[in-house]
Symmetry: C2
Subunit: 197 residues, 2 copies
DNA sequence: CCCCATAAGAAACGGATCGTATCTTAATTT
DNA sequence: AAATTAAGATACGATCCGTTTCTTATGGGG
């Protein structure tokens, strides 16, 4: 007897994207084929092509869905602690996904489709750092001088760089980013708080 | 009459790599095929496969050869000027090559083969910054506190990040990297010189 | 100067995957 | 219940892969 059930809409799409994720884990990006995905998802190639014109866009959709954990601003009680926690979160989120997949997608995706992926990688970069800085100011750890956007983007830029170029960063790498780069720079740019330790 | 000339060794290899570069410019990485390269270089596929086991490695060889300009430590008379000149040089060198090609190669190359490519992108990162810092110290622009390696790598890391994620960086981007990040950080870390302005 | 090892270049292959077109039929809409 | 929509199966020509086979130009060694 043949399968007499036909999935549609969201249910079907979810099954497909799960199949993509599985194929990705099993064969890697290069080894992933439309046909392989179709077989695993128990559907057919035309169904895939109706949704995504290219492999890159299909994989991007799966990657975004699989890693759509929301990153939340940490609150550890110190600026350095918050920054480290933030970098650690980004590392964890991206870790589930795979470096070479991300690189390939960044290379192949049309800019429009790359947007959602970049959002995953960046998790709205600047927007995550601002509240951390605000907390530090409230605690008196930092002064009130305004911070240029490039500086607010720097924490995420640095982890992203580390992830893309060297793979999953070590704890030591994250710590040195915070201690050697971010803390000195933020203090220099924002000024010191009213009650220095 | 058939071609009766057969190139060998270096001459042949150069012709092939030039063909790779041309095909790359014309069809992009994805559209480049062994067969296309063979035809353009007026040779045959086995000749290519005898040299490079994968497309990625062949393209890497061509990319490295095409962009083997040596980056030299600039000397503009000021620390900020030198840093800006360095970043500009890196931008120019990498510009000739193509962002999506670099990303794809980073994704596909085995770590061993990636070495030479990374060298191109990095141009021995830290090693280029050290002399610039030394000059600044001699001029009294910077103090003598030792700089951690992460800090020495930072200038190149930041351009590389900019290139990989956003494409060719603008002048304004390079300037803001120098003014907002590098200069304040270097001053804070090395201490100020003996004759502050 | 000739011989010979080496590698260039031509041609053809089986196979995999591509992207599309065709057709039947289940699921949904009206 | 009828009509519309889309799933799923199948098959296609085309392209590129990576390899094999074979001929013959090339350049070095004797």
């Amino acid at each position: 007897m043949t399968k007499t059930t036909r999935r549609r809409g969201e249910a079907l799409e979810q099954a497909i994207l799960e199949a993509v994720t599985a194929e990705l884990a099993e064969h890697g990006y290069a080894g992933l084929t439309f046909e392989g995905v179709a077989v695993r998802a128990e559907t057919s190639k035309p169904v895939l092509y109706r949704r995504w014109p290219t492999k890159a866009e299909m994989v991007a959709a799966a990657t975004v869905r699989a890693n759509s954990t929301t990153i939340v601003s940490p609150d550890t009680g110190s600026l350095a602690g918050d920054l480290l926690a933030l970098l650690d979160q980004v590392r964890t989120v991206v870790d589930a996904s795979d470096r070479s997949v991300l690189l390939t997608l960044m290379a192949e995706l049309p800019p429009s489709a790359a947007e959602s992926l970049r959002e995953l990688l960046v998790a709205r970069g600047t927007q995550l750092v601002q509240p951390i800085v605000d907390h530090a100011r409230q605690r008196g750890e930092l002064g009130d001088a305004p911070l240029p956007s490039r500086l607010l983007a720097l924490p995420i830029d640095l982890v992203r760089h580390e992830i893309l170029v060297t793979g999953t960063p070590s704890d030591a790498a994250l710590r040195s980013i915070v201690d050697v780069i971010l803390m000195p720079l933020l203090r220099a740019a924002a000024g010191h708080g009213q009650r220095p330790g």
